[in-house]
Amino acid sequence: MSDSEKAIKDATTGEYKYGFVTDVESDKAPKGLTEDTIRLISSKKNEPEWLLEFRLKAFKLWKEMPLPTWAHIHYPEINFQEIVYYSAPKPKKVLNSLDEVDPEVLKTFNKLGIPLEEQKLLSGVAVDIVMDSVSVKTTYKEKLMELGIIFGSFSDAVQHHPELVKKYLGSVVPMTDNYYAALNSAVFTDGSFCYIPKGVRCPMELSTYFRINEANTGQFERTLIVAEDSSYVSYLEGCTAPQRDENQLHAAVVELIALDNAEIKYSTVQNWYPGDSKGRGGIYNFVTKRGICAGVNSKISWTQVETGSAITWKYPSCILKGDNSVGEFYSVAVTNNFQQADTGTKMIHIGKNTKSTIISKGISAGKSNNSYRGLVKINKGAEKARNFSQCDSLLLGDKCGAHTYPYIECNNKSAKIEHEATTSKIGEDQLFYCNQRGIKTEKAISLIVNGFCKNVMDNLPMEFAVEAKKLLEISLEGSVG
């Protein structure tokens, strides 16, 4: 084995450091999915009748839908009756202060590097935390309330702002959209809800941490963000899960709505457990994320750093309906060992002078497969729409794969669409050059990979960028020699 092969190997066999399990009692629904399960979830959450109806309708549709098979991913059939659809850390009661949160749960979040207390007070990030199926704690709620910003768990929003939830739920991702969106619509348990009123610039980053803890539990969260006219919000999402030999399912739906002159910036650092070096275990991540620039001059920007999950199936998209609206997608997807990622975006141009930018960076190591799949669609009425796409792939070693599937549908002659794509391998020459300057191979790879991702990382909020950079290093640890 050559040195560089060894370094690739070393960099790709790094351990997952969030693989611990929290010993906390939980209130669980029995395994399996029937109408009764859905009624149970709905009654546990004390939901209004219309929401139960919504769920049951989605369940009916889901049962009729075929499993999607078009993605470049391979996995054994999922037995949806073997999954637990509701699990809440006990004791489940209304939490008034942090002191009432189960200390084991708090310990978990400390281990994850999410101290709920002082550090967040200092850094000024409002955090909502979702463990398995329920939201555990939201910080800063009151302070945000003063500005009229609603930020908290989805369940809370259903109780306190049902009119908003009813108005927007399913308005961007209808339950008929796809198989996993339908499943989510039937069984979603919690998630985050965020509403920014007219003219308000949210003064802090809003952040949600998702954590799957229980074995055999699926996590189905629902996130809804509404930005009223001339408002702004930056939202961060982080995800981790324990190390388990079985695969676990995560099927979330995220909907963003930006009205006139509003801007939503949505950043994700996804680090679900990717499975071990032999390909055992790991999270199946089937997520539907979509935003609509409903108003004129509105803007939605997705930034994602995807390092985890055994399978990632995810296409954060923008519907550019308002004239002059802007959609952006910046993505770094790292796959290692036996991970499979099929990710990308859809930019649907409907309004005039709409603009979209896609920058996708795929890094494959080990025996993994990394695919970019993107659609740029220009509708008839989208006069002078503009798109720029750049998809770059970097290969570490010779057992991994990178694939690019760009789709373009253009129905307006005044549109301008640009697409650039490159595939490169970290060359022996680059590594040797770095070595000759005294730089060790591991460090050289980290340097080259970070350089490769630079124009995506630059779009992450500062503190997230630091975390993402570290994550890149951990994910590729042991992958190069």
């Binding site: 070595n435 730089i439 350089g451 490769f452």
Partner: protein, 249 residues
């Protein structure tokens, strides 16, 4: 400081170096010349530790250590620097970030603390001036979109930053116009002192007008077949290599 004895090396089973001897002492400048395919670049690559080359015989000691036993980065740490004939590009990694990483890695190897930003910036400014490197290049991606001359100047700039004990210039003069050549040579001349040494590999005598060698060696078919002073280079320029090969027969 560098002692090469009977060095044999091959690539893909093909023997290139066939028993090469060379000794370099502190304060010396050695020029290595020779026709295409004689093994000049192979010698540089073997000394720097490039993996594709297999050493099949002989020994190399550098500052008392077995050089062939060290990894490429350890050789750099010991003070060996090679200016590449074809410097690589690394997109997204700024020139300044790259050289800072290199400087601090070499310092770490020598158990020295990393340079303070202020000291680093001062060093950077001084050395940029030395090779007349445009300050704007510092923030550009490493060698990306650099002209041929800028790339070579950047090599000498990096050499100045790392301040090696032994600098090997692998055909640094190829593709340079006369001004760039003068700047590169000037950089080397200023770095030269009684404690370091340079091995300059070149095709042409013209570089040696600027960097005056103490020794000129002719490499032919994997061996050094003739050694002289700077006059030998002039003779080669005039007569070509044929007379030497004829002499050998």
């Amino acid at each position: 400081m560098l002692k090469i004895k009977g060095l044999k090396a091959s690539i893909n089973g093909k023997a290139i170096l066939k028993g090469l001897n060379l000794e370099v002492k502190p304060g010396e400048v050695h020029a290595i010349m020779g026709p295409n395919g004689s093994g000049k670049s192979t010698l540089a690559s073997v000394l720097a530790g490039k993996e594709e080359y297999e050493v099949t015989g002989g020994s190399v000691t550098f500052r008392g250590k077995d050089l062939l036993d060290l990894s490429p980065e350890a050789r750099a740490g010991e003070g060996l620097f090679m200016a590449f004939q074809y410097p690589v590009e690394i997109p997204g990694v700024s020139n300044i970030n790259f050289i800072k990483t290199a400087v601090n890695e070499v310092r770490e190897y020598n158990k020295m603390p990393p340079l303070e930003t202020k000291e680093f910036m001062k060093l950077l400014k001084d050395k940029q001036a030395l090779v007349e490197l445009d300050g704007k290049l510092a923030n550009r991606s490493l060698n990306e979109g650099f002209s041929g001359g800028e790339k070579k100047r950047n090599e000498i700039f990096q050499m100045a930053m790392l301040n090696p004990v032994l600098g090997i210039l692998d055909e640094t003069d190829s593709g340079l116009d006369i001004d760039a050549l003068r700047i590169v040579a000037n950089g080397v001349n200023q770095l030269k002192n009684k404690n370091n040494a340079f091995v300059v590999i070149t095709h042409y005598q013209r570089l040696l007008d600027y960097i005056v060698p103490d020794f000129v060696h002719v490499l032919y078919d994997g061996k050094i077949v003739k050694t002289g002073d700077k006059k030998l280079a002039l003779e080669l320029e005039k007569k070509g290599y044929d007379w030497i090969t004829k002499e050998l027969v």
